[in-house]
Symmetry: C2
Subunit: 281 residues, 2 copies
Amino acid sequence: MEIIKSPGEMQERSLQLKRQGKKIGLVPTMGFFHEGHLSLMRIARERCDAVVVSNFVNPTQFAPTEDLDAYPRDFERDCRLAEKIPVDIMFNPEKQNMYPEGFRTHVEVEGWGKKLCGASRPIHFRGVTTVVLKLFNLVMPDAAVFGWKDAQQFLILKRMVKDLDLPIEMIGGEIVREEGGLAMSSRNKYLSPEERREALVLSRSLGEAREMIEKQGIKDCGILKNHIRKQIDKTLHGKTDYVEIISLETLEPLEEVKKGDTLIALAAFFGRARLIDNVRC
Amino acid sequence: MEIIKSPGEMQERSLQLKRQGKKIGLVPTMGFFHEGHLSLMRIARERCDAVVVSNFVNPTQFAPTEDLDAYPRDFERDCRLAEKIPVDIMFNPEKQNMYPEGFRTHVEVEGWGKKLCGASRPIHFRGVTTVVLKLFNLVMPDAAVFGWKDAQQFLILKRMVKDLDLPIEMIGGEIVREEGGLAMSSRNKYLSPEERREALVLSRSLGEAREMIEKQGIKDCGILKNHIRKQIDKTLHGKTDYVEIISLETLEPLEEVKKGDTLIALAAFFGRARLIDNVRC
């Protein structure tokens, strides 16, 4: 596996791959790989000739109050795991090369970055769209793979790709869960054993909501959201940030579940970890 | 000359040209060609294998109060003029295909779009950067040619290209002037004969400022700006919008002329025409 640190070198390498007619697949990550990341790399491996994984903890998507410095990193372990997929290129730029002095350009998917997670993380998605656009321009992938775990992120990035006419196929990989159902996340590392046990409520309550829809025919989003919120807030350490039921197409809140176009998404704090999870119906 | 209307077809055609190893040059325009546009096309012709000219009056860079509907158009004449260069492809998309329902993505070069022309046209440069990024993604040029007449636009777009890591060479073409010195502009069409005569003050006063710098050694930007402003405002129909002297590097206002890094830029109204002009020192 090649490790490339320089953005210019990454772009040169990609141009070379394209001249050879290779189909490039990109998996953008912030590193500290778990089975969720690896599953996305496997999708890229299956569909593309050359697999590039970017490994960059992007500072511009963290607010000053957030966990940028604490965000877990283990580059050597990441390399060992990626090599087994196998990944062809690990792109691991320095932040001063991604954001040199004078940098001042941002891309935004208007409105969509302020909903759901954006309500408590107002600059987050602007940071995500900007860095992903830079990664797209550097790596020039034919396909890019993102996890459905960050559903809002995936929907915003798909919108950006469509609006900006980028010739990139956007592929969503399903959420990978630990035993018990907790969605894999680098931030699960912050959980105490007790918080981790309690955090199972997230996937469980989402599953219950899905059952209420599918088995009991409940469509009222108010009832479903209340159910989930109650389950979370009755734990000892859990605190709901939001529970929302929205259209996958418009990101607008739904009053009634719309079969095939519904996302139930939530975020909750357990201790210092802010966890997200979702299901599509 | 090929005329392509569909964005998807344009992108397909560019991918084909790239597979053939052709170097693509793009000249983005809003049509109604004058010698200024043609000079940019000649630069692209000299440096590239395939010359694409986009011809699109971009609605998102006009405020509701501005001259979008009145903006002069003559597509057939444009085609005849471009064919003589010769241009290979004229890309002439419909606005509903550039901005289909649900479009909501914007790119912005923070701060720089609010200075100079941006003070009186606050949404203008956001519209410009967004449409040019779309054109870049559709045409995938190796080089793009813009006129120095819209100096702020050119500097903002160069910053965007650098910040977003786009592998595109940005080329500036010098201002082409009518006899008497008036910078060529599609908006000169709005001028009455008397306004047109008076508007010569723009290039003349810029030339005087340059002489004051070069021959008299004047460096104080206040003195230079005052001189220009006075010349414009003493005409019968002219009204200064702004006169600014800024760094080409940072776009910050200068107190003293900095040899090689100075732009003197102005905008003024003559009747219903808002005209711009500039010199670099």
